[in-house]
């Protein structure tokens, strides 16, 4: 007999014997309680029922506070999704992201804005927004062949770190890759939680 099967049968036997012992103990105690006619608990039955009510109330309060804490954890996303969505809608219509066609984002403009030479343009794009909302813009084509990331200038290096709490909203856009090719894509605004929010 292999060692592993010996160990498993030994452990199995041991567990079943412990369970049997426990079962016997519970049954014996239960029978003794039923036969006991001393009435030890009878005078204090009101205290027992009050204790049960208090325990029930404590459990109810704990559940309630748990639900509130859960809401608090997600409140950043709940409260700021609307703003992220408004920013995404607004930015999808921004002329700074377009060139000739008024209904399409221009890949050339996006290249310029997301590149190192687009600092001045980015400054102008973000000038209309208050510094309260720390956000970046991500634009990607549907099959993710091309993607652009536009960040505001003068932000702390770790402002957009991976672990930070954030909420994102996307809107569909059409991206003009060149004068003869346009592809569908999405514009996403990712709103990050700042220290004071």
């Amino acid at each position: 007999m292999p060692v592993s099967s010996f160990i498993s049968s030994f452990v199995g036997n041991r567990i079943s014997s412990i369970l049997e012992d426990a079962n016997k103990f519970v049954m014996t105690t239960f029978k003794l309680m039923l036969k006991d006619e001393q009435g030890v608990l009878e005078p204090q039955s009101d205290i027992l029922s009050t204790a049960l009510a208090v325990i029930g109330f404590v459990v109810f309060a704990a559940l309630l506070s748990q639900a509130y804490l859960g809401y608090e954890d997600r409140s950043f996303a709940l409260e700021n999704y609307e703003s992220a969505s408004l920013l995404a809608d607004t930015l999808a219509a921004a002329p700074a992201l377009r060139q000739e066609s008024p209904n399409m984002l221009s890949a050339d403009s996006l290249d310029k804005l997301s590149g190192p030479e687009g600092v001045k343009e980015r400054e102008k794009l973000f000038a209309a927004f208050s510094g309260n909302y720390l956000f970046l813009i991500e634009i990607r084509t549907e099959e993710e062949l091309c993607q652009w990331r536009i960040e505001p200038v003068n932000v702390e290096p770790d402002s957009f770190a991976e672990g930070r709490e954030k909420v994102a909203a996307s809107v569909p856009v059409v991206i003009e890759l060149n004068p003869v090719e346009s592809v569908p894509g999405t514009l996403t605004v990712v709103l990050y939680k700042t220290a004071w929010k």
Partner: protein, 221 residues
């Protein structure tokens, strides 16, 4: 003492158990009433939050309207019809009145609500039954808590130009932004009974290749 120890009627047991029962009931009911009172405060706080959120939403909607539609480069040699620009739909004044909102009328503060607006946030503060409530919401767009003439005056003092198409600012963008941000730190107190005007305003900046502009929202009464 002998009588006391010989007494088998268990009156002490009875009294102690009933006292414990009364005590536990008092604690239980006090807890329940406290919870109900807390719920009332929680509801009031949420109403105040929702009112602040509604105002922020109204301001942000003014900012989002035709975002940067008019922010395009034009040469100083080009004719620029200022009246057509400033009177277009996106620059029309929008009125907001707290008194007209159902959320405001349902609040238990009556006229004690203090509304403050700065370039950064709207803050609503009130006291009810000795408890203070406050709600703060930040704006997504650049906001200034005064009217157009005050803005022009401040820009004139700061840069020697009004920021209009006829007299654009000539300084560095970053410097102008810092100045506007500094102006936004001022706080204005708003009366909830009076209409609040929300208006989008463009500030024009002259650059090497032409004139560009950025928008901000003016909030005033």
């Amino acid at each position: 003492m002998r009588n006391f120890t010989a007494d088998n009627s268990a009156w002490a047991d009875f009294l102690i158990s009933k006292a414990a029962l009364i005590l536990a009931s008092i604690i239980l009911f006090a807890g329940l009433f406290h919870l109900v009172a807390d719920f009332k405060d929680f509801e009031t706080q949420k109403q105040l939050d929702s009112l602040a959120w509604d105002f922020q939403n109204a301001v942000d909607k003014v900012g989002a309207k035709n975002f940067q539609e008019k922010v395009s480069k034009w040469s100083p040699q080009d004719s620029f019809d200022e009246s057509s620009d400033e009177s277009s739909d996106q620059f029309k004044k929008i009125s907001y009145c707290f008194n007209e909102k159902a959320g405001f009328r349902n609040l238990p503060f009556e006229k004690d609500l203090k509304i403050r607006v700065s370039g950064e946030y709207v803050s609503l503060e009130a006291e009810s039954d000795g408890r203070s409530f406050s709600a703060v919401r930040p704006f997504a767009f650049r906001v200034l808590p005064f009217n157009e003439s005050v803005l022009q005056e401040k820009l004139h003092t700061g840069f020697g130009a009004d920021g209009n198409p006829a007299s654009p600012l000539t300084d560095d963008y970053e410097e102008i932004e810092a100045f506007i941000r500094m102006l936004g730190t001022e706080e204005a107190v708003l009366d909830p009974e009076v209409n609040i005007s929300l208006r989008k305003k463009l500030i024009y900046v002259k650059e090497d290749e032409g004139v560009s502009a950025f928008a901000c929202i003016l909030i005033y009464q």
